[in-house]
Symmetry: C2
Subunit: 417 residues, 2 copies
């Protein structure tokens, strides 16, 4: 069996005005849908970022993938390495991992379809029937600037009390049993108060906050200490491996990251410095599902915890995340997902359903999802019409506050002279 076609369709879907340290989500989130077709007529699916550079890299990868058997992931990686990473002017290693990841998922989908086995079985078999996800909470505006479409049902969330309301709404609907708050938006005191109110309202739900490097070291230490006993982990409070190491030494709450350790190359220094205790995996940039399993073994080897990161995504990504999560013995935290914030979908049958905060693993061949081609066409039309080719939360925030600028860290305890 050979892969004979590789189609990459950029799409854009509705995304609420979610606040974060970089600004606010634009009304359209970009994504790419990947279809690998074989000479036997099978179609394997992948989903990745939709930014311009990723689309370019996926386009350039076409010649590397065509003619390969769906099992030849290793060969593809080597070809991409030769092609993308070595060609002057290309975006190097991280681009390679992102490109490979998107293609590898589609190849695993094909492998599963060939064998009549779900991807989790191709990956060695599921160790759990259900994969728990966390309630991923954002402060948010009530509506996008200029109302490009009808406002979302979540309303305005700018205070601790409103956040407790958002959380209750999400937990009532999805049944999540862990909570993650996207921070780095407001003064740390307000976010700490938000967490305290969440802890009061949901005392048995493990809590996390992710300020996205919005705090300096001093703020991180103060906040970390204030939240000891409240937090399951503190995610990326401050920039750099060195900054995180300083915070890690000063607070007892475990530090997690998807910002300072984002590839295997970051491991040696992170281990040497003791910067983090939990790694957030994400197959989209760690290099695919098998690389995620390798990352898990690496975390186990070095005594680090493992959780899972998410960007805005649709059902193909969620299916892939769930398959790999089911196979990892030491994925002991509920996975992050933005999925409840999306009301668009590209897979047939509509959105995947959570039961008590978990997704039940699929027993269908491959990823177990197929495309709704009408939806794909609609979302592609959104992409063509939305006038966005790269995510830019700062630019979007300037529509509300023209002088606003993203900066890391945003909140400083000490003024550095």
């Amino acid at each position: 069996m050979k892969i004979t076609h590789c189609r990459v369709t950029p799409i854009a879907f509705r995304d609420p005005p979610l606040l974060n340290v970089q600004g606010v989500h634009q009304p359209w989130a970009l994504r790419s849908v990947l279809e690998l077709e074989t000479d036997t007529g099978l179609v394997g699916l992948g989903e990745s970022y939709g930014d311009k550079d990723v689309l370019e890299d996926l386009g350039e990868a076409r010649e590397a993938i065509l003619g390969l058997d769906p099992f030849e992931t290793n060969v593809l990686r080597q070809r991409l390495f030769d092609h993308l990473a070595v060609t002057p002017g290309t975006r190097g290693h991280k681009a390679l991992e992102k490109t490979f990841a998107a293609l590898e998922v589609a190849m695993l989908d094909l492998q599963g379809q060939m064998l009549g086995k779900p991807v989790h079985e191709i990956l060695g078999g599921a160790l759990r029937e259900k994969v728990p996800y966390s309630a991923y909470l954002f402060y948010k505006f009530a509506r996008h600037k200029d109302d490009p479409y009808a406002p979302d049902p979540w309303g305005e969330v700018l205070t601790p009390e409103q956040m407790v309301g958002e959380t209750r709404q999400m937990i009532d609907e999805y049944g999540f049993t862990s909570i993650k708050l996207k921070g780095g938006v407001f003064e740390p005191e307000l976010e700490i108060e938000t967490l305290r109110q969440l802890h009061g309202a949901f005392p048995t739900h493990p809590l996390r906050i992710d300020p996205n490097q919005g705090w300096d070291v001093g703020t991180s230490i103060r906040a970390g200490r204030a939240l000891e006993g409240t937090l399951e982990y503190l995610e990326d409070p401050t920039p750099t491996l060195e900054g995180m190491a300083t915070v890690a030494k000063a607070v007892s709450v475990p530090l997690a990251t998807n910002m300072v350790v984002t590839s295997f190359a970051h491991f040696p220094e992170a281990i040497r410095l003791g910067s983090v205790q939990v790694i957030l995996s994400d197959h989209h940039y760690w290099g695919g599902l098998r690389a995620t399993q390798t990352l898990a073994r690496l975390c186990q080897t070095f005594g680090l915890g493992l959780s899972m990161h998410s960007n805005s995504h649709l059902g193909i990504s969620l299916a892939a995340m769930t398959h790999v999560a089911a196979t990892i013995p030491n994925l002991t935290y509920a996975c992050d997902t933005h999925y409840p914030w999306q009301d668009d979908e590209v897979i047939a049958g509509g959105k995947l359903n959570f039961d008590k905060g978990s997704l039940t693993i699929s027993d269908k061949p491959g990823l177990g999802v197929t495309l709704d081609y009408n939806a794909l066409e609609n979302l592609h039309q959104n992409y063509l019409n939305c006038d966005i080719s790269e995510r830019n939360d700062e630019l979007e925030m300037q529509k509300y506050q023209p002088a606003w600028q993203a900066k890391l860290p945003r909140f400083l305890e000490e003024i550095v002279g």
Copy 2:
């Protein structure tokens, strides 16, 4: 498809009187041949150690493997972990990795047969058509004590000149382009002189020596410095991660190991101390072929080289080694193999053939080897008759020198008071 039968057949095959730091090889080397049979009549093969404890563990693993699909390697590992590692009195983690490895290879053989694909393709695809092996040289006696069978054709090798002869004979026959000398047998000066003569006779062949921790730190440093410019790497000169780290700081020759880093659990301390620069993989105890790929990624991550270790083995193991070696981008050294020392074989068609020191990867389904059941029965009869249930090179050496005792390190530069 389900695995319905698991047969483990202990075998014993002729092994020459090869010298090493532990003594001398017994006339019979022990091994186990594993057959996993499915409800569709496929038979997957594995080969592992034949010592008593491994046979017991493989026997105990039967209940864990029966009923599994050949793709459920992950599930098997978890079951073995629950069963073997947690049961009081069992041999724990290392036993788990050995047992799992043997079964995983047979499951991968089945996967390949199901798909009509060679194991290297199941593992992601071959990055090379040929896998180079090294000439694995031993000092040796001319014949076993009491001549249990006709002497081997290699004769006595106890001097540098005889070793050059052995090497020439092996390279003429197999075409190897790298050389590894098993050391720790004689005074280091004689082994250094042997390496110098080998370097003179084969100046373009990279050279290694493995004293199997036979030297103390002082001897290792002296020998390592004397051999700078001659050695590709120096393997396990001295015991312990700390000892190796001291040697590593003092000599420029890279240090390799298959003794101080033999599982993922040893990595953190080895990295912290800087004990080694090259890891010798061995799927038989690292936990199988996919774990070997993971080990490779770990070595790449931490900037370590990767080579491959070997014990006495037959063709099933050699096939498995070759499949995985073909898939690893950073396996940049020729692999070790004892294979030329064995004149018995258990696979149909007899021994695998080297071409210019390399094995060409197989394009047959699975491992690409099948059993010669007559040979299996004969080798099993050897096992029943040989009166050996655990390898013991020291006991064998005492037949020649009754007062001889194995000790590590054997050769001391400094007398410790």
